[in-house]
Symmetry: C2
Subunit: 224 residues, 2 copies
């Protein structure tokens, strides 16, 4: 029986292995979202109780999540809002703006282009790609639309490591392979189709219909 606890406490080091849970990471961005609001309201310090209830988790979980990265808190005053936001940004890597590429300019792609929420959270859609020759070369929401032939060049020039996939499912895997080879390390995939990547890449899927189906199920079973 190996019950090793040798891990942990890899905190702010280069982290080859992943000592911190993905679910924690997911919550960190929710914490940061709330911290941004608190900064806006000029709140300086906050206790785990209060912040937890604002984001909808238990105080214990909030403290546990933060503890994965070391000590944040001050027992008397609580957590320093400004400091915590800064630290979380550094952990997430959004303290400096990250260039992001968008693939696909259908309805969803255009909506994402117009969405202002990325800039606020440290992301910048710097390049847009489309297969449709009609759209190539035109400008959408201030960004020029490239053809896929320029993928490698633009990814390299702009140092793009994150891509949003909003294309049709045809040719998606080939596109991902090319992007990964060109240096993209993370994909936010809106296409309801499984994509595979080399191990150094990460994929997050957002399948809107699947979420609706889940809700359909829950709405019928939750004391219906």
């Amino acid at each position: 029986m190996s019950k090793k606890r040798v891990k942990d406490l890899e905190s702010e080091r280069t982290g080859q292995t992943r000592p911190v849970s993905r679910l924690t990471i997911e919550r960190l961005s929710v914490y940061r979202r709330t911290l941004k609001e608190l900064i806006h309201e000029d709140v300086k310090f906050i206790h785990s109780h209060q912040l937890a209830s604002l984001v909808g988790v238990t105080p214990a979980q909030l403290r546990r999540d933060l503890a994965s990265f070391g000590s944040f808190g001050n027992v008397v005053k609580g957590y320093n809002v400004q400091d915590m936001d800064r630290t979380l940004s550094e952990i997430m890597g959004t303290d400096i703006p990250q260039p992001v590429a968008l693939f696909g300019l259908g309805d969803l792609g255009r909506a994402l282009l117009s969405y202002g929420g990325f800039q606020e959270r440290g992301f910048s859609l710097v390049a847009v790609f489309e297969k449709d020759p009609e759209k190539i070369g035109r400008v959408f929401a201030g960004r020029r639309c490239y053809g896929l032939d320029l993928l490698e060049q633009v990814v390299a020039d702009r140092g793009i490591r994150i891509a949003i996939l909003a294309t049709t499912s045809e040719g998606l895997q080939a596109l991902v392979d090319r992007a990964a080879a060109a240096g993209v390390r993370a994909f936010l995939n809106f296409v309801p189709k499984l994509v595979t990547t080399p191990p150094q890449c990460a994929v997050e899927d957002i399948d809107i219909s699947s979420r609706l189906e889940k809700l359909s199920f829950l709405s019928r079973t939750q004391s219906g």
Copy 2:
């Protein structure tokens, strides 16, 4: 929160409590997505390891997920694709089209309106609501846009139990409260803000920026 131990085997019965894990439910819709493709390709039967590899899970997990609802398989030929799709639809409650309301006609709302993927999976956006008087009464992608004053009436008339939230964050909680009181039982929330509901309602959050932040973190730590 209740601490229920009501245990298993409530399978296809009325299901008051929730004997089946939420993560399983999430995967069920992914299975169904893939089954739809298989039907399209005229595949009649499939084995767990094949289907599992198509959706990106382990065969054991696929079998375990299905087993939560009883027996699906035929040892020799594998699972009947058509049957399984039908059964999953029934379980999810999408065997008959579900009417869905959309709140908010910003960029994201309009993109969702134009998105064809809902119909395919058994959902129908039957009503659209906006606060902006400019948009009320106009028709968007074939749907007339209502003002919020008609919320209760339209929800009741159309029997709407699922709502998509794509508004701004101001007044969101009040809107949810009204919708819940009017009979809505499930919310797909794209607004990056915590909403609370009565216990008979379900909420699924989709925070696109949070997902990007998670990817930002992963792309740096995954053998960067």
